[in-house]
């Protein structure tokens, strides 16, 4: 800091301060508002004078008197597990394959990335065509008739898996593109050196390339966690996140928006989602800071 002129300090201060103010105003104040509202029974109508504080009652109700909540927590964790163990590794694997400059790789790249850019309404429609019990492609291909048809979207024991396939289909393309960009930045000299030393393809990747990609790996991990926690859009399109497709994001919206307008109760669910997110953030920052100290 001593090397900086006064002007530099002002510029730096502005460059950090202005975005920080924005984040404060746009992210942290509403978050604080949400947490405060979660202790009220406000229904979104009227001003501050009509807000009645009810203490922890919303939380009590969520735990004891709101069956969808447990299912939602379970589904969010399932989402995280599937993304972390299946979708993310698959996206990385695709990136590694496409990094080899095989012929027509532009085609594979576009095909894999397409789901990410498709509008949600279109994605929802595409999967409805696959999964529809009576007219869907999957049941038709399986040749199921009448009562033995599988109810992909309506059976609460399997519909979350059906949606997870659709969600992974989008997530794989997203991770692939991120990872591909990272791979392109790896110095080719490293790989050549490894190959000269007689390392196999796999060995080269795991011992040389993967460690040099550490920053990207962290980004991919964080994105996987974030995407799982805010899972919402696909289940909302199917059935508003009900009947086995409960996820926290959908419960928040179902209570907050529309004519239901249970602002207090919805905020309490949102606050619990914030708490869960904070746990992940603390773990992540802890890891990062420990790395730095090393």
């Amino acid at each position: 800091m001593r090397l900086l002129t006064a002007r530099d300090r002002v510029v730096l201060g502005l460059m950090i301060g202005v975005p920080a103010l924005f984040v404060l105003a746009i992210v942290w104040l509403p978050t604080l508002g949400t947490i405060l509202l979660s202790f009220t029974s406000w229904n979104g109508i009227g001003g501050l004078d009509r807000i009645e504080v009810v203490g922890l009652r919303n939380y009590e109700n969520i735990i004891t008197n709101y069956p969808p909540f447990d299912i939602a927590v379970r589904n969010n964790l399932l989402w995280l597990g599937v993304f972390f163990l299946v979708a993310t590794p698959l996206g990385m694997f695709m990136a590694v394959l496409l990094d080899r400059e095989l012929r027509g790789s532009w085609f594979y790249r576009s095909a894999l990335y397409l789901p990410v850019v498709l509008s949600l309404a279109l994605a929802g429609f595409i999967w409805q065509l696959q999964y529809s019990r009576d007219q869907g492609l999957i049941n038709a291909v399986l040749g199921l008739e009448g009562a033995e048809r599988i109810d992909w979207y309506g059976d609460p024991s399997i519909n979350i898996w059906a949606v997870l396939v659709a969600a992974s289909w989008r997530h794989v393309g997203y991770i692939m593109l991120l990872y591909l960009a990272g791979l392109k930045a790896v110095d080719p000299a490293l790989r050549e050196a490894a190959q000269v030393d007689g390392a196999s393809e796999a060995r080269t990747f795991f011992s040389v390339v993967f460690p040099t990609m550490a920053p990207i790996n962290i980004v991919v991990l964080v994105i996987t966690v974030i995407e799982s926690l805010r899972a919402f859009d696909l289940v909302w399109v199917v059935n508003r996140g009900r009947n086995g497709l409960e996820v926290l994001g959908a419960l928040v919206l179902a209570n907050l928006t529309g004519e239901a307008s249970l602002v207090g109760f919805g905020s309490a669910i949102a606050t619990l989602l914030i708490v869960i997110s904070v746990v992940f953030i603390v773990v992540y920052l802890g890891t990062i800071l420990r790395e730095e100290r090393k």
């Binding site: 029974s41 229904n43 979104g44 109508i45 009227g46 009810v54 009652r57 109700n61 008197n65 069956p67 969808p68 309404a121 999964y131 529809s132 019990r133 009576d134 007219q135 009562a147 048809r149 109810d151 992909w152 979207y153 309506g154 059976d155 609460p156 519909n159 199917v238 059935n239 508003r240 009900r242 009947n243 179902a254 209570n255 928006t257 529309g258 004519e259 239901a260 307008s261 249970l262």
Partner: protein, 448 residues
């Protein structure tokens, strides 16, 4: 939502104006003047309600309308109504169109923000709820002019206590829909009682068809079945009382409804929670299912040339003491906001919307509903609309549909998931009743 959801529109919000847009200040000044004049000019409205608006001298300038009719066909019909009104009154109407679903989703913030003078809404509890919050203008004086054109049932549905707050435009019945040709080919008769109905279902199954179509992926269609069973088993008054939160959901009466429903479920299409109402309608169109309990909008799913084959009967009697005179027949119409910019013009517009002419214009484009006004010309109605008029005018109790008769938060966050659980596992009625009751206590008691 007890109606077809609008297709997602790309813009979501189209601002249109018909004619001249008056700057806000001018409107306010005009409103003040018109208000003063309105006090002086007594509204001479003792005319026969032939459908023409009355007292046009008092109002001038412009008013505004917030409309959820974003779909092409109703949009055109509403524009035609507005054009007729503008020509007749010299008042311009500025219209804000939002697609149906977004409009309903954002109604709370809409009414608290800067709403138009007049807006599209639904009758019943859903209208009274907003009036109790102080968002709605009293239009009892408009009803003095238009009231003779509506039956008592419509007046009741448009009132909150002794205030009138709503102008009905059209409604449509919920009933059991079927294809005439399918019933004729098989020689099936219209069932009068529950026993007839069950026997008919057995016969239909024997013929290799599914007796009753059912699709509840969106959550609301099954409410129609609950409503009608409750009205047939416990009567109309009990149903309305239950909806208003004055009865317990874990009572023997409600249990009887679910037990009856569980007995009838095997005659319905399997796996309803994974089927949209449109897919269920398709099975009726294709002749795979014989009957379908739905609103008259099921006609939209039929190709033009097959519409005449669609027919309906009211759900059969279960208890002879109660009969089969009650039904769901949701009413759509208009309300005025609490602080309109030009109250006189807004009321003039509502007088027109409550005329036979307005109803005729709207229903002409929409063959799946009927005009609410008693004097609306029905000569252009198809046979289905004629039947709907008979059914509704002879009804001894008209409910609005579950999600319009009870608290919206209760309907969407409690009733829908619970009914879906029931459809997944009809054997566990205890849990269903307990969930409904716990939800009712949380919302009706805690939320006040």
């Amino acid at each position: 939502m007890a109606q077809r959801l609008a297709s997602p529109s790309l813009s979501g919000f189209a601002r249109r104006s018909s004619g001249l847009v008056v700057p806000r200040r001018a409107v306010l000044a005009g409103a003040g003047a018109a208000g003063a004049m309105g006090v002086l000019a007594a509204c001479g409205g003792d005319e026969e309600s032939s459908g023409s608006a009355s007292g046009g001298a008092a109002a001038s300038g412009s008013t505004s309308l917030g409309s959820n009719r974003g779909d092409e066909v109703p949009r055109a019909a509403e524009d035609e109504m507005i054009a007729a009104f503008e020509e007749e009154s010299g008042i311009t109407v500025e219209t804000n169109v939002v697609d149906n679903e977004s409009f309903q989703e954002s109604i709370n913030s809409y009414l608290q923000g800067n709403p138009q003078d007049v807006f599209t809404w639904f009758a019943g509890f859903r209208a009274r709820f907003f009036d109790d919050q102080g968002f709605i203008g009293d239009i009892s004086d408009v009803w003095e002019d238009i009231g003779s054109g509506f039956t008592d049932a419509f007046r009741e549905a448009s009132s909150n206590g002794d205030r009138q707050i709503f102008v009905p435009l059209y409604n449509y019945p919920w009933a059991v829909f079927y294809r005439k040709s399918v019933f004729e080919e098989n020689g099936w008769a219209i069932p009068e009682t529950l026993d007839d109905f069950v026997a008919l279902c057995e016969e239909i199954q024997g013929a290799g068809l599914t007796p009753v179509a059912l699709g509840d992926q969106d959550g609301w269609p099954a409410m129609g079945t609950f409503d009608i069973l409750n009205m047939r088993i416990n009567g109309y008054d009990y149903h309305i009382d239950l909806m208003a939160g004055n009865q317990d959901w874990d009572s023997g009466e409600v249990r009887a409804v679910f037990e009856q429903w569980a007995e009838l479920l095997p005659y319905h299409q399997a796996d309803p929670n994974g089927r949209t109402w449109q897919d269920a309608a398709a099975s009726l169109v294709q002749g795979e299912s014989a009957m379908y309990v739905l609103g008259m909008f099921v006609g939209e799913q039929f190709p033009e040339e097959e519409r005449e084959d669609l027919d309906f009967f009211t759900f059969p009697e279960i208890d002879p003491e109660i009969g089969s005179g009650a039904l769901d027949a949701p009413i759509d119409g208009y309300m005025m906001t609490a602080n309109p910019e030009n109250e006189e013009a807004a009321k003039e517009f509502l007088r027109f919307l409550g005329s036979a002419q307005a109803g005729e214009i709207f229903v002409a484009s929409s063959p799946n509903s009927i005009a609410a006004h008693s004097d609306a010309d029905t000569s252009g109605y198809n046979s289905l609309q004629q039947k709907a008029v008979d059914l509704i005018s002879n009804a001894d109790g008209i409910a609005q549909f579950l999600d319009r008769d009870t608290r919206p938060d209760f309907a969407s966050t409690i009733v829908i998931p619970t009914l879906q659980n029931f459809l997944n596992d009809p054997s566990d009625i205890d849990t269903v009743l307990a969930d409904l009751q716990a939800g009712k206590e949380r919302l009706f008691v805690d939320q006040g």
